[in-house]
């Protein structure tokens, strides 16, 4: 079944570097390749500074990628000029983390929704636009009485619904959700998560769900990618990732997630040593090697490739431990890598 699924977004080696003071470069996203299939939820997890938000923003071209290609429905949009992005904006929308700063405090929410339609020339008359705005508001669980309210008159959960309405009104196929529930209270969080799921069912949406709360990501996602220091270190289906985490970082990350079950609190935690290295000067070879309990000199010298080697198909991991298994011996791997370099040249 997986084979038949339509790839709706494909990124190849996307990089986003930011220049900072003293002529240094922050490598926020450093070569991420992944595919989104139509109708799925792809969870992107990782800790602060791993580049997951930057990747999301680059994907919808809020930022221009430094390198790499982004294909949406087969069309390369990575270098399309701003003027040609109109269609992309209709296809891909974003829901932001902070419900308090993501809405213009001086614009009534109905007017805001109608403005979105106006920008894209949708709807002929004002009353048609108004009808569409009201329809979308109902869809996300807001009442029409809310139409002329200002954002500050709403609670956090309602604002997140407004943000969702703003994203949905263009009828997009892909929604990049950047920590959409992490600022919400527990009881509101479940309402919004359910809303995301309902809308996915009714509108066949594809989500890129970026979050640091692993329990939430596990619940909502079909597949999950784990990022560390700008790199996608592991990717698998949700079940597969939680039953067989391969990358040492994923293992540590999952072991740290607290469980809401007092009888299970004695589980073994993998404590990572040291701090996250600076993205200005990432470690050579494997970016995780400075904190990895299994690091060898090989990890220092050679950047691991992302290989599909999980127990199930589609389990990709970037770690030398598994590369050896894949190639048989380290020597064979280095040889393969050498060939690859030669081909590249």
């Amino acid at each position: 079944m997986k084979k038949e699924r339509e790839v709706i977004v494909e990124t190849t080696n996307v990089k986003k570097y930011f220049p900072v003071a003293h002529n240094q470069i922050v490598k926020a996203v450093d070569g991420v390749s992944l595919k989104l299939y139509k109708g799925e939820t792809y969870g992107l997890v990782g800790e602060t500074g791993c580049g997951k938000s930057t990747f999301g923003r680059t994907l919808i071209r809020l930022q221009n990628p430094t390198e790499g290609t982004i294909k949406v429905k087969g069309k390369d949009i990575s270098n399309a000029p701003e003027k040609e992005l109109g269609d992309l904006r209709k296809q891909m929308q974003m829901v932001f983390q902070d419900p308090f700063t993501s809405l213009n405090p001086r614009i009534r929410i109905g007017d805001m929704l109608m403005e979105v339609l106006k920008i894209h020339g949708i709807g002929n008359s004002k009353s048609e636009k108004m009808a569409m705005a009201m329809e979308i508001m109902e869809k996300v669980g807001l009442r029409t009485e809310h139409f002329y309210r200002y954002p500050h008159e709403f609670s956090g959960g309602q604002r997140q619904r407004i943000g969702l309405a703003r994203a949905l009104i263009l009828n997009p196929e892909i929604i990049v959700c950047d920590e959409p529930v992490s600022a919400l209270d527990v009881s509101i969080q479940s309402q919004i998560i359910n809303l995301f799921l309902d809308l996915q069912d009714s509108d066949d949406l594809t989500y890129l769900f970026i979050a640091h709360d692993i329990s939430v990501v596990k619940y909502i996602s079909n597949r999950i990618g784990v990022m560390y220091l700008g790199h996608l270190v592991e990717e698998a289906t949700t079940e597969d990732l939680f039953s067989h985490p391969l990358h040492p970082y994923t293992q540590a990350l999952l072991s740290a997630v607290p469980e809401a079950n007092p009888h299970k609190s004695d589980k073994q935690r993998i404590i990572l040593k040291g701090d996250l290295p600076s993205p200005i000067d990432p470690p050579s070879g494997c970016v995780f090697r400075t904190r990895c309990p299994y690091a060898t000199t090989l990890c220092e010298d050679l950047k691991p490739q992302t290989l599909d080697i999980g127990p199930e198909e589609g389990h990709r991991v970037a770690c030398h431990m598994y590369a050896e298994k894949h190639y048989g011996t380290t020597g064979a791997m280095i040889e393969a890598k050498g060939k690859e370099l030669a081909v590249a040249k």
Binding site: L62, L85, N104, P105, R106, I119, T144, Y150, D204
Partner: protein
């Protein structure tokens, strides 16, 4: 839900929405008004300002005499029933002159506040948006700000000639850089807000983002600053007239009345006290009002 039929709005629906809108607007207005009325300082400021504005507009009908009518026999008379504020060195009624002077002060204050506010907004918005515009505009602002403002105003007045229009021009030149800087820094903050990013994500063009989304959100500090510019222009205008570089005689201006009273300060204090006190009150009123405005204009705190 996706293939739900497109709903259209009936006349009744539209009418209902308009009704909701009006009701809400009224509600929001009355809430704001209520909040403002409760702010005593701002109310005091507003009342003082309105009195001065009223005097400036209806000055001629409030005074029996002409502000320039000489009456040498009646010179330097202390305050009395006929002459509330006394008379000056040429026997002119100080009360009348102060009322007429209010007109000058108001014209100068309003014009300078409004023009430098608008220019500042434009400068601020574009310099927050374009790096090159920023460099150029900000260096010009820095250059202007490097010269002490009163000196710059005097220089400009000398070059342009004493005239109320030129007072406005030179004070605008003096005040615009401050406004521009303020608008720029406010715009830079607003620009980083997620809702601006969200508008870009929706596909809004730069012009829409700059004028519809950034500009209204930097208006409140600008408006507040405008009231302060208003107040300082009144003072600067008075200072210019005091130094003889402002509104030409015999037109009455608060500064020139003070200047004339300077020579007789020990004998006829009324020539200094009344215009001086009124200038101070007006400026104080404007400042109080400006502070109140700041609270009122913040949509998040209502």
């Amino acid at each position: 839900m996706n293939n739900m039929k497109q709903r259209t709005l009936t006349e009744a629906d539209l009418r209902r929405m308009v009704e909701i809108r009006n009701r809400l607007t009224k509600e929001q207005r009355s809430l704001q008004l209520h909040k403002f009325l409760r702010n005593r300082q701002a109310m005091v400021g507003l009342v003082i300002f309105l009195i001065v504005l009223f005097a400036a507009i209806f000055g001629p009908s409030l005074c029996k005499e002409s502000p320039v009518a000489l009456n040498v026999l009646n010179r330097l008379k202390p305050p009395s029933k006929e002459h509330w504020f006394g008379t000056d060195t040429l026997g002119r009624d100080v009360y009348t002159r102060v009322i007429y002077g209010a007109r000058i002060s108001m014209i100068v204050g309003v014009s300078v506040g409004a023009i430098s506010g608008i220019l500042g907004l434009i400068i601020g918005i574009y310099s927050s948006y374009n790096k090159y515009a920023d460099e150029i505009l900000m260096r010009i602002c820095d250059g202007l700000k490097a010269i002490p403002s009163i000196l710059l105003a005097i220089t400009l007045m000398t070059a342009l000639g004493a005239d109320i229009k030129n007072v406005i021009i030179s004070l605008t030149v003096v005040n615009t850089p401050t406004m521009g800087r303020l608008a720029r820094s406010a715009a830079l903050v607003v620009k980083e807000q997620t809702y601006i990013e969200a508008m870009r994500g929706i596909g809004a063009k730069s012009r829409r983002i700059l004028w519809r989304h950034i500009a209204p959100n930097i208006m409140s500090p600008l408006l507040v600053q405008m009231t302060f510019v208003f107040a300082t222009s009144i003072i600067t205008e008075a200072a210019l007239s005091f130094l003889g570089a402002g509104v030409p005689a015999p037109q009455p201006s608060w500064g020139s009345i003070l200047s004339e009273g300077r020579t007789v300060i020990f004998t006829s204090q009324w020539m200094i006290i009344f215009p001086g006190a009124i200038t101070a009150m007006t400026v104080l009123g404007l400042n109080l009002f400006g502070d109140g405005l700041r609270d009122l204009l913040d949509p998040l705190s209502s």
